[in-house]
Structure formats: structure tokens, C-alpha cells
Amino acid sequence: MSSTPRKRLAPEALIAAVVVILLAVLVPLVVYSGAGSSLFPPTAVTTQARDTRGLYDIVFGIAVAIFVAVEGLIIWSVIRYRRKAGDDELPPQTHGNTLIEIVWTLIPTVIVLYLFAISWNTLNTVDAVSSNPEIRVHAVAQQFAWKFEYLDANGKVVATQSEPSAAKGGGMAVPVGKSVLVTLDSPDVIHAFYVPKFLFKRDVVPGQTNRFQFTVDAGEATDGHPNIFGGQCAELCGTGHRTMLFNVIAMSPTDYDAWLKALIIQNNATPPPPPSGAPETTVTAQNTAFDKSSIDVPAGHPFVIDFKNMDIQPHDIDIRQSDKTTLIQDQPITDAGKESHYTYNPLQPGTYVFICSIHPTLMSGTLTVH
């Protein structure tokens, strides 16, 4: 008991109350307004993502409530109970209160059990994999590029997309409104398949084939109007980790069928013959290294590199200025175990660099043009 009964509210109590009320009003206001939009994940584009977003919203609401309540109590106490100078009297030496302690143990238990129940429920829909998906894609993560293989109903590869970027004409195309099963494999290190707008990621673990399923909302793409989503490797995989980007391209089912047909034709097409008389050099890649450190070609003439990728990783051979950064000529990726005939446009005399764009620090050499 305090020694003198208080007749009116202490000024600290007033100040404390005002501050706490401001907190309780402003925080939800800011957080749920446009200003707080970045406190929420991006708009969901798949069925599963919308389920996850629903769960997020509930957790978020409870989080804001707890934040305001507890921070409010702390701020209240810190303002209201400041010790006045010269006041040496001890405050009530409360050791505890069994009832309150039981209540504040039980209520959080109920809250967390509720959160667990709804998150388990959502997990069952988000993580569900059906035995009969409409589309099957096998995503292979390698240091440092993604490869997408399209499978038929028996799991046989019908088409391969080695270019992960939509800007370069590649990417993982999927039809909207259909269930897509993605299986994940890697020959080297752990990676992760992450698409922010899917509110989802799954690790790619060597020696273990992970799988997940999604259905892009039907409204996300229409005939002739695909929708490109950004994706990125989200598990540290080495020096090229930050470059392991990819795109998922949502298309209308008609567009998708046409796209897949075109990819199959592109896969099977014989490459155009190199210009006659073009000097040809053979370069092999193995153990993340080229077998040649220098190549000589004549100036003013197209030239060919016969590239045998005997490695377990994808590579390419681009031409850059001797600063190793300025791109002069880009070439498509050659998958592990495959061979490509790269034809290059004529170059002026000088010293350039031939370089693997996926492993630039480990794989480059001098290209001398006379």
C-alpha cells in the first residue's frame, strides 16, 4: 500500500497513458496502411501462396497485438514509475502472484497451440503433392545455373531448357490453372528453388530428390500475355550464388503448348553449319576449368570454338574485353556432358578474354586476335 492516498492522477501516469495510447493507435494504423505494405509478402500468384498469405496475415495480426500490448506495458512502466529524486522509500516488494502467473502461462499456451493448429492445417495444403499432376518439370540446380527438363506422364524427358533467364529467351514456362509438379536435383552442392511471389522455397539437396507442387492462378496470364516471375537460388552455393537467378513464366495453356512444341523443335534442331573456312579450336571443360589458357584467331574473320563440356556443371564461352567484364559476344549455355559449336563474329585485332559467364573467376583465358 502506498503511504498517502492519491487524490488525482499523477502527471507521469497521464504522460505514460498518452504515449501508450499513441503507440496502440499509430502502430496498427501505419502497419495496415499503404506505408506498411512492405511488411507483407508480395501478392500471391499461386493457390498455395494464397493459403500461406492467409496464414501470414493471422500470425501478423496476433504479432502486432502482442507487440503493442507488451511494449505498451514496458513504456507505461518506464514512464509512470520513474523514481523521484530523494525518494528512498521502497516500493511494494511484490514477489509474485500465483493466479496472474498461471493466467499468463495459460493464455500464451492457448495462443501458440492455435497458431500451431492453423499452420499445420495450411502446411497440409501447401505441401500437398498429388500423384497425377498435369505438368511435370525436373529442375536441376548446378553451380551456378538452373536447368529445366520437361517430363511426360512417365517421367521421360521431352524437352530441356538450359537457359534460366527469360530475358535471354529461357526460363521455366508453366501453364496457369494447372497443377505443376517440380522435382529438384543437384549434382554438386545444396541450392534452393525460391520464387518470392510463390511465397515458397524448397532446398535442392544432392542425393535426395525433393518435390513440391503449385498451381498458378488462372488469372495470372492470358493468351499472348504471359507473366514473368523472378526466382533466385536461396541457399549459399559458392561464389556464383548471387547470380543463380531464374524466371518462371506463367502462360495461358494454349501459349504453353505452343511454347513447349517450339522448345522441342529447338532441342532437336541441327545447329547451323559454321561458315566455311572458319578456323576451329577445340576447348574442353572439366573440373571447373578450361583445358586451354590461350586461343589465337585471325582478325576480321568469323571463328568457331568446338566446346566439349565434360564437366558436371553447365558452362559457356563468352567473349569479353580484357577487363573480363565488358561483354562482346554472348553464347548460350552448354549443359554438362554436351557439346556445342560456338560461332563468333569477326573481331578487330587485339587482346580479349574468353570466359565462362557462370564461373568467371575460375574459367577464363586470353583470346589473341592478330
Binding site: V59, A63, P92, D188, A192, K201, V205, C237
Partner: protein, 550 residues
Amino acid sequence: MATHALAPATTAYRPGLYEWLTTTDHKKIGIMYVINSFLFFLIGGFFALGVRAELAAPGLQIFTNEHVYNEFFSIHATVMIFLFIIPMLAGLGNYAVPLMIGAPDMAFPRVNALSFWMLPLAGMLLLAGFLTQGGAAAAGWTSYPPLSEVGPTKSPGPGQDLWIVALTLIGTSSILGGINFLVTIFKMRAPGMTLFRMPIMVWTMLVTSVLVVMATPVLTSALVMLFIDRNYGGHFFDPTHGGIVVLYQNLFWFYSHPAVYVMVLPAMGVISEVLPVFSRKPLFGYKAFIFATAGIGALGFSVWAHHMFTTGSVFLPFFSLMTFLIAVPTGVKMFNWVATIFRGKLSFSTPFIFAIGFLTMFLIGGINGAFSAAVPVDFALHDTYFVVAHLHYVLFGGSVFGVFAGIYYWFPKMSGRMLDETLGKVHFVLMFVGFNLTFFPMHMLGLQGMPRRIADYASNAGWNDWNLLASIGGFIIGTSILPFIWNVFVSLRNGKIAGDDPWEGNTLEWATSSPPPPYNFDRLPEIRSERPVFDARHGRLTPHDEMGPA
């Protein structure tokens, strides 16, 4: 009241540096732990500033060799966890625990010294990686195989091996320390100090030491296996030869999750000493607090796979449930602290201000952790900057603020001088502002899709502004250290003389001189509650004088 003096302190100290190098006195060892850990705090901070400088704007400005960037964040975290936080808290415990239980020293003083000296050695080995051909370890502080195995695009150089050896040394130092604390606490308490009269700091060191003794060896086994894979043709984690990649993660996190409680429980112990002293009230719910701490320690062994939700090889519902449940004892402690300051008479000395910083920031860390406990949400947030926000709110907002509360609180006892209050407040304000500016935007970055451990990001991803803010905040944190360092040097020389009990403390360390004599106590007050010095000061024979039901 016992009045017999012990034998007078006639031991002449050995001269200066030699004394410090050969001492087995827990007080000196504790101080060395604190100083050494603080140096590594600065080193870890340097690496963090390197990371933040690079990420301030899109484009690779500093680290044109990304491998070095990967080394920077890997060594930043490794240093902060293993060479700063864990040993810093062990050091504060080393100093405080024998004093708080009325003992003359730790149970095994020579092992205590050994535990300490292994740390600077391990630190040097770890950092020596930068001088080697392949650079320091660069596979993250977690060093998951296959990336941490040998191979041209993996971790071919000796830097990773040095990392393994350093952590093995640090783990051994930790385990020996844990054994020392447990034997000291069980065997060397002063008469009258039953277990349920021990200060909370001692209880948290007890539970922490149980975690250390039981969990750290599992990390050692994982490190040993990785070393054998790397150097003796082993294939523990190599799937092309029958190994299991995820095995490492399971062993690693079986240790590293309890490790986060090793990193926070002693800081909670500090808070639980500071808040009652500066509120002039006892800790609310002392016994419940102890059970909550023990509960967190026990539950802490059952949640490890929540770091692995996205691996596709975890029984998700179990680990999600246990992770949610551990929020309950943590919340109970939070409420106990708030109820301690509620209706108290609060003095805003620097230790108290840092303790309030702990309360307000650790709360945020606990709340954002709940998001990751919800598995589908974790699928979105794992390995993004949201997790970086979470871990820094609990480890910096929680542990580091707790560490500074402890340093400001016990500096007078250690040195006999008071630290300057104004400089302390400047330190706090700069650190608090810098900390929030750095880490709050990371929630947004993670939600918007920015992954961790990337040297650069696309300029059109919408992440530029938050990153710039975070980087500015990082440098503000850097500057906040300066008033602290200045304060220490100035106060050691000219600080106000502290006397035995400058704060009107509750626990036994305030019943002896500042600094204490080598044998700690000439005499001990009667111990009849968890606040023996408070009882002695207020002439109480029965400790319970509360105004409400017990």
C-alpha cells in the same frame, strides 16, 4: 552475522603482465574473457561493416572477388557467435558466479585459465585463413557440405580446415568451462545458499552449462566428420559415395539450436539482476522464472530441425509444435520482467537503460521468430533477410544489450570505479538507434524476397532504399562503440570511486570491496533469501514483506 575474518591477504601478486598471463583467479580470468571477447566483437563488427558497405547500393563496389565477400560474412558470424557472445557471457559468468554464491573461486581454477587461453589461440587460427591461398572459410558460419567439402567450386583451401580446428578448440574450451560452472555451483555455495536462493544469474549459468556440456560435443562430432571427409577420404556427407548431406545439418543444429540459448540465457540472467536492483523490487516470480529457464533448456533440445524446414527431410509438425511451445516459457520470463519494473521505483542508470533496451528489442525478436515457426510462412522466409532480422533482434537486441547492461553493472565491482553515466547514455542512444535502423528494414527486405548471403542484388528489385538504410544504421552502430571505449579508458583513470555497493545491489558480490580481495570475501552476510545483501541492508530476518499474495 558471521564476523570471523579469513586469513589476511598476504599473497603478493606477481608483477604486472606475468600475473595476468599466469593467473587462475576467476576475477582476472573473467576480465580477460570480457576484454578478449570485446576485441573479437570489434573484429566481427569490421567484417559486418564490410558486408554492409558492399550492400549499401546495387552493384559490386568493393568485393569484385565474391569469394572474399563470402569469407567476410562467414567469418563475421563465426567470430560473433564463437569468439564474442558465447565467451563474453562465459566471462561475465566467470566473474560473477563465484562471488554471487559466496565462493572463493571456481571449482577448477587452472582448467578455468586453460579454457580462457584456448580462445585467443583459436581466434588467431580462424583468422589465419585469410592469409592462406584459398582464403578463410567461405561456406557460411554453418559450413554445410557439400559446399564445405573439397572441390574446385567448393571449399578447397585450408581456410575451411582452420575453421574446423578453431571451432573444435573453442568447443573444448566451452565444455571445460561448463563443467567448471556446474561443479562450482553444485559444490561451492556458501552456507545458507540453497539452490532456490541462488541469484538468477547463477541459475541461468547453470542451465547454460548443462546445454554446453550436452550439446557442444555433438558439434564436435560433426566437425570431426567434416574434417575426415576433407582430409582423409571420408564420405560422411558425400552422396556420390553413400554419404548423407542432411546428416551434417541434423548434427550441426542439434548443437547450434541449444547454442542460441547458451547465447541468450546468461544475458537474461544479467537482466534479471539489473531490473530488480534498479526497480528496488524483487524479481517477480523468481521460482517460475527458474522453471521457465529449465523448460527452455530442455525444450531447446527438441527444436533443432526448425532450421531445416525447407530441406524436405524433416518431420515438420513435431518441430513446429515444439518451436511454438518454447515461446511459452520465454513469454513467461518476459512478463516476469515487466511485472518487476511495474509499480517499482525506477532509476535510469546505464545498466538499467540497456536492460530496457533488451526487453523492448528481444520482444521483437521473439515475435518475428513466431513467423518462422509457422512452417508454410517459413517456406517463404527461410534464408532471406527476414531471418537475418530475427537473429539480430534476439542476439544483438537481446544478448548484446544484455552484455552491455552487465558490463556497466559490474564494471564498478571489477575496477573500483564508476563508468560515466552521460557517455553511457550516449552509447545507448547511438547503439539503439543504429541497431533498429540496421535491422528493422531487413524484415521488409526478407518479405520482399531478398535472399541471404548474396554479394549484390538487382537494382530493379526494389531493395535499394532498405539496404541503404541498413548500411547507414550499421555504421552508426560502429560509431556507438567509441563513447564506450572512451568511457572505459577515462573511468579507469578518473572515474568516481565506486565503493562496495554503488547500486544498492541485492546479491553477494556487493558485500565485498570493489575490486574484491583475491579470496573474495572477508565475511559473508546471513543468507536467508535470494537477496542477502538487500536483506542485510534493510535489517530483514524474514525476506518476505510483499504486499500481495506470494
